[in-house]
Structures are given as C-alpha cells and as structure tokens.
Assembly symmetry: C2
Homo-oligomer: 492 residues x 2
C-alpha cells in the first residue's frame, strides 16, 4: 500500500506509526502489529496504532523516533519477529541460547517489540529467572548493540550501587578519592526515575552532566574522572528500554540487574568495578543471603566479561547521609569532601573507594586522601572540567525557601527511617525536578529523641508542594519514634 508519511508527535516512547482505520483494515493490521515501511531505498519497521481522525486515509503518521521517514512510502504487513517466539519460550521456562538472547536484544534495540511483548519478556525473566549462562549471553548481547569507550589504559575503575537507599550519594565522593589517587574512573550515572534524586541530578547542582563520549574522554583525560549522565551516551541502550517496562511493575529481577549494570560498565571500558549491594528491610535486596548470591553472580558474570568485580554488601534499611533531594545531597557530598558531613556517608564512601585503591594495589588510603584535602581539590577540578564553579561552597547550596520541620510527637527511640517514604516525601516536595526541594533528616535509627525534638525538615521551592509534602508526612510518618520499652517489638 502506498501512503504519504508525515511526522506527528504523540509521545516519545516507541516507533509508533498511525494508520487510518480504513487503511489498517485494508492492510489487515491491528493495533500493536508491525508494518514494514519502504522509503528512500531503506526498510524500517513501525508499530501500528489505529485512528479514525488524526490521520487521513492515504497518510501515515510517523512519530518522532521514526521522524526521518517522510513523503511517499510503501507499507506492508511485517511478520512477527523471531524474538517473540523466544520470549514465549522463556515464558515456558525454557532456557534461552545465545543466538536467541541476541535476537531479543537486537529487536528491543531496534524497537521491534511492542510494550506488551517487552513486558512479557520482563515478566518471564522475573518469574523464571536467568541462569548464569543466560545472564552472560544477555550482558554480551547488550554490550554488542551499544557504543563502547576505549581507554588504552591497563586499569579503568568504576562503581555501581544497586540502589533503593535514599540519599546514599557516595558516587561523587568515591570518584574524587580514586581520581585523586591517579586512577581512571569515567563514571556515568542515572537520573531519578522513582527516587528523589539520581547521582546525575545531584551532580547537576554543581555542573553540567550531559556530555558526548568525546567530551567524556577529554574530561577524564584531564582530571582522571567524571560524573556524567549515562542517558546522554549510547552505552547499553537496550538497558534503558528494558527499564521502561520494568518501572511500571517495579520489577528488577536479579539476572536483569546484573546484565544491566555489567553491560554499562563493560561498554564504559571498565576493568575493575566495585558494586555496592545494600540489603535490608525496604531495600531492593531484602536478606543477606540474597545479597551474597547476587554478589557471587556479579563476580562470575563479570569475570567472564573480562572484568574484576568486587562486591561490597552494605546495610540498606535506612537512608545514608542527611539530605534527600539534589541540592540537599550536594551539600552532604561537599561537606564530606571538606572533612565534615554525615559520618555514615563519609565512612561508606571511603570504604568503597578503598576497595578500588586496593584493586589497583595502591598504598595510600581513602581516609588520608580525604583528610589531606586532595579529594576535595580533585572534586573541584572535575566540577570545573564539567563547566561548573570550582569555588562552590556549602553555603552556596541553598535548599528551597519554603521549609517546615516535623517534630517528634513523643519521647522515645527512632526505630525506622523508611527509605521509600522519605523518598516519596522529597518527591512530593518537588524533587528531583525542583533541585532545591527535599528532606533533611535529623536522626538515624537508634537515636533517642525527646517530644518536640526535630525529626526532619522538608524544603520546597513552591509553597503548595510544601503543603502536599507535609500532609504526606503526617499520614505516613517516614521517621518512626517508639517508647524505649516498645522499640524492640516489630509487630504483636
């Protein structure tokens, strides 16, 4: 069928094409089917949506991911990709082979799978798990379809945290320490999806984070390190697409997490990686035994990809640091680098950095590098290389002008500081969009408080968001205080 293609913007997710229902019926295609579009001597696949009005008969509405297609095109029904059969096979709990996982990854990369199919793959991986062999094949396939960075150095270190812990902004500190020690650490980080801040959001408080691979090579060439947004570079693009299907379901199957993390590290050219696996109630990994299993799988798959992986299992049942939200976390980061700051954040950052220093057989210690001021100097150097102000001071990083402090309603012991509720509280206040919105925690679990003592302060850029956040805080009580004699009892 010959149609005239015209761009139409209906959202940004998949390479959808809109057909008038008359043409769809004529072609025999239904919503979510695929059509082949022949244009300028090339063939592109599009996923069909059907409309009665927005697109006239004879026209093909092409969405932005297919925006290069214009003018006269020839369309025909496309066969279902082979990878749909493979994901069905996985749903039947049959282990997939290398070539099959390759096909799935290639089709995800080329947007040949629709949301229903992508979700079925994610569901199958979640429900039946991935064997180590499958995880390895999947990781390799994910590396193969993306860009990779070559460093021409024997040692390139990297760091990743499994996430789920509010605050926990260790990355800029770790990067500053190991780069100060002379190691190469090209760190790409994510923005928040469901949390109050990603490392990229926090780093953006100091400087730019959106750089090309060439720019990253230049920054790292100059300073040994960087903290940039991974979304701007095409490292393991399939990972981003899989995450789109995982997010609505809050699914994060372990094999998928390993493939996701290691494909990005391999693509970034890392040789030695420290992985932070926080565990505990409310963290992504709930028990120590699960954390240990994941650590073993990480090492096994990493070794097969030619990387050395050191896993650090950490306590994840409460936030790390005092600030939650980009600016408040940035304050913590800078404070730690300058020798003060929240002790939990400082100790955790130093420990993770030490693993990388040890992996490189360096004699110096992370603690010395921080105490000597070399980490802070290196951090300012990186900030400058990323177009930020190297002379920034903690006082410059002002949280939102609207604030309110939540007080303890009784005297007792802090028994819970809930990661999810603290995150949600900071999001209600406007984070991560409003950089200066967020939460400052006054206590950690185990602290004693008196009635009327401050528990946390909420900051917002907009007054109505402060109100929304406070009403959430009243309902959910993200920081729980129990009388001392009840603090040990979880549930009666």
């Amino acid at each position: 069928m010959e149609l005239t293609a015209d761009e139409i913007d209906i959202g940004t997710r998949s390479p959808t094409v809109l057909l008038n229902s008359i043409d769809a019926s004529e072609l025999g295609v239904h919503p979510l089917d695929r059509i082949r579009i022949r244009h300028d001597g090339r063939v592109t696949t599009g996923i069909v949506e059907v409309t009665d009005e927005l697109v006239d008969p004879g026209s093909l509405g092409v969405t932005r991911p297919l925006g290069h297609i214009t003018g006269a095109v020839e369309v025909s029904i496309a066969p279902r990709p082979d990878s749909v059969a493979y994901l069905m096979k996985k749903l039947d709990d049959v282990e997939l082979e290398m070539g099959e996982l390759d096909a799935v990854v290639r089709d995800i990369n080329n947007d040949r799978l629709n949301d229903v199919e992508l979700s079925a793959f994610v569901s199958a991986v979640y429900t039946h798990g991935l064997s180590r062999e499958e995880t390895m094949c999947l990781t390799n396939a994910m590396v193969d379809v993306g860009e990779t960075i070559e460093w021409n150095r024997d040692l390139v270190v990297d760091k990743h945290s499994i996430g789920g812990v509010a605050g926990n902004r260790v990355t800029p500190i770790v990067v500053a320490i190991v780069a100060a020690a002379g190691l190469t650490i090209p760190k790409t980080s994510s923005r928040a999806v469901t949390s109050a801040a990603g490392t990229a959001d926090t780093m953006e408080v100091f400087c730019d984070v959106d750089f090309s691979v060439t720019e990253i090579k230049s920054i790292v060439g100059e300073t040994n390190g960087c903290v940039v947004w991974g979304g701007a570079v095409n490292l393991s693009p399939v990972d981003d697409k899989i995450i789109r299907a995982e997010t609505p379901l809050s699914l994060d199957p372990p094999g998928q997490v390993i493939a996701s993390v290691l494909s990005k590290k391999k693509s970034a050219g890392a040789t030695n990686v420290v992985i932070d696996i926080p565990y505990g109630e409310g963290a992504k990994v709930e028990s120590l035994s699960e954390a240990r299993e994941m650590a073993e799988d990480f090492s096994h798959v990493g070794t097969n990809l030619g990387m050395e992986i050191d896993c650090t299992i950490t306590r994840g049942e409460q936030p790390i640091g005092r600030g939650i939200g980009p600016t408040l976390e940035a304050r913590d980061v800078l404070s730690v680098l300058e020798g003060s700051g929240p002790p939990d954040l400082r100790v955790k950052s130093e420990r993770l950095a030490q693993v990388l220093l040890d992996a490189a057989s360096l004699d110096e210690t992370a603690v010395d590098i921080v105490e000597s001021g070399r980490a802070a100097a290196k951090f300012r150097e990186i900030v400058a290389a990323q177009n930020g102000d190297p002379d920034v001071a903690v006082e410059d990083l002002e949280p939102g002008a609207h604030d309110s402090t939540v007080l303890a309603g009784r005297s007792g012991v802090i028994t819970h500081v809930d990661n999810r509720h603290v995150n949600e509280l900071a999001r209600r206040a406007g984070a991560p969009k409003d950089h200066r919105a967020g939460v400052r925690l006054e206590h950690r679990v185990g602290d004693e408080v008196q009635e009327g003592d401050p528990l946390l302060t909420v900051y917002a850029e907009k007054e109505e968001k402060l109100d929304q956040a406070l009403s959430f805080a009243t309902q959910r009580k993200p920081v729980r205080v129990l009388p001392p004699d009840e603090a040990l009892i979880e549930q009666m």
Copy 2:
C-alpha cells in the same frame, strides 16, 4: 495542577492522556503512570503519555475513551492501583483470592492498567496457570462487571468453539437446527482477529450482525435464535481487553480461555452450553489429554456458575468445510442447510446440535431437522429478522472475481492441510476485510491426487492481493502432497 482538556485522537486502545513534558516533569509523572483528573465533580483516571509538541504546556490531550472530559480540569498523580500488587503476586506464583481477582478485573474494566501491566497479568496467568478456584473467581468477576441478559425461560442453550481450525463455520447451522427445534439460542460471535473469518464476519454476508441487547431480545423472541456480533454488546467487556494483550503474544492460557468463554455465556443468560474443543497438530489444544483436562475444567467451573456444560472433543488438525473466508464459508453454510455441502461440516454441525437437543430431552434428531428443510427455513427466518434477504441462494454468494487454482506438483496422497497456512493464505487474498476473498479447498487429508489435479483455489477482490496470496502459497504449500510410500513418515 490545573490544565485545560482537549480531545485528541491518537488511536483507540486505552484511556491515554497526553501531557506536555514540562507539565509531566512538574507533576513528577512518567509515561505509563496514572493521573487523577478532576472534572465536573467527578474523578477519572488517565494513563500518561508525554509529548513535547502535540500538546502545549497547560493543556491535557484526552484520547477518545476519555472524550467526555473537556475544559478546565485539576490533575494530580494517582497512586498505583492495588491490582498491580496482585498481578505481581501472581507473577510470584501465589494463588490469588476472590477479592484480589475482583480488583484486577475491575481495574482492567476501568482501563486503570496500562499495556505493560496487562501483559504482565496475562504472562503470569500463562506461566503459572489458574487453579479451578481462581478460574471460578475470575469468571464471576468478569460476569459482574458486564451487562447480562435475562430471558425468563428455563432453558437457554449456547455453543462455543475454542477455535484455531480454519473454516469450521458450524455456528449458523447449529443455531438454525436448535432454534428450529424450539430451543432458545441467543448466539453472540466474534469477528476475525488473526483468522480469515469470524462467525460474525461470515454471518454478515447474509445480514446485519450489529445489534443492541434490546434488539437481540426482539430477534430471539421472534425466531428463537440469532447470530450476532458480541463486540456490539457489553457482555464480559473485560474479556475483550484481556484479548488485546493476548493477541500480540498468541497467548491463550487454558484458565483464561475458560473464564473468557463461560463469562460470556453466563452473561448471555445461557443455562446449557456445548463446547467444541478441537485438538491436534496445529490446533489450539495439541493433545487429547489436554483436551480432556480442559473439558473437565469447563464442566467444573460451569457447574459452579449454575450452567450445564457438555464438551465435545473434535479433531482439529485440518480445516472443516471447503471454504475459508466470509463468502466462501457462507456458501458452505447455506449448502449444508440445503442438504448438500461439505460432509465434514454437516456432520460436525449436526453432532454439536444433537448435544443441545439431548440436553433439552427432545426426541427429534438434528439430522432429521436438516433433512426436512426445517433448519434451512429457520435460518432464513433468522436472516430476515437480522435485516437480510431470506431468499438468498448459494449462487448469489459469489466469491471474488480474481481467482487462481493451485495444482498438485506431483501425484500422491494429501498428508497435511495446515490450518494456519490456509488462514494466512485467505488473509493475504484480502479476507476478512474483503468478504469475497478467500480459499476453496478441494481435498481433505488422505485424499489421493494426480499431478496437475487442483488442490485449492484462491479468490480475491483485488488483483494485487491475489498475486500476494499466490506467492505465499508457493512458498508455504498449505496443502502438502507426498508420494504414497512417504506419506506415513513425518520427519526423518
């Protein structure tokens, strides 16, 4: 956040709302998240898509399913529905309770689940199956959210085939026979989704099929029976929504099939139902033991819903009847009713009808009702009641003007007539959109043919579709002929 709602037609699937990326970021919502829309004192949930261009900041693009929302609205982020937690539980292989399945069905009915979530539910049901208890709860929940028809009669019969067999247009014949015997049979049927014709498409060759519940009651009141399109009435609407997620994956888990069929039958007011379960290579049910298991589950769940279910297990490895495609199947139907027609179609229809006659303890036989001409007369009466021409003759039902016959390339025995390939061949020729397009088969498995004998004829309304179909026939050989001495050997 206050926005101005404006209708926008981007396709017809789900209650999607389009937000400008600036507003989405301000609200903290991502694609596929849900927002609450407060309008005219009511609250409606919409699924978010994000756009940079199609919708301006401050506007809310509402798609057709939400078309009633216009003007000033107040939007806020909506919590994830509880049913998402339940479908995740099912993905973890935990049996769901009645209240949980109720919530899932209600949320599907209200379009609160996005495609990713719907697919995860379908995948979970497929991979872990449904217990009888779950199937019963699901069926009840599906009946509860839809319309039901009351008949005020002791006996209301119905018929369903599991599908997957090309041709197989027994329904109009069964309806004519049992209605002629005085039984009430309000039959709702589907249109083709992936096949070359649904019963509704074939019936449409004779008359209208699109009627309201009131009209159906009037037609059945007059003639005892009807054959109408189920999509026009709101019986078990959730079923249609679940099928949308099953289709791209070709998933049809047995528990879901049972819930789907019985919820529609219960809603239509049936008391006695005959279920045709075709089995065999290439059919939906591959083995006799699977067919038997399904038959038991049907009876068990049906009994619990207060219906009497008789399952007939039939051979499904090849098409039934000669014609594939609406007009060609309509010819077969009318021929059988007039005493000739393909013997396999006649015998199968009479047997299924006989089960219903026996269930009603009637003395007459289906064979007699056909031979006496009473079935044909009743069929013409129903056609007239559905606004068709009661005097239609087989010769009036002309297939497409462009045709070509595929000949046997060698002498031998017909070993395969492949349901899927025959279906696909008829679809390439234009069916079901082009009613007169399709395939006429000249043989059944086991027939001997000489080189040059006709195997099948392809009919099309448009010449280029005939060419496309013939090129498919050459590649896939839907009818396979092997030399007699090789006919027994499937694969070496």
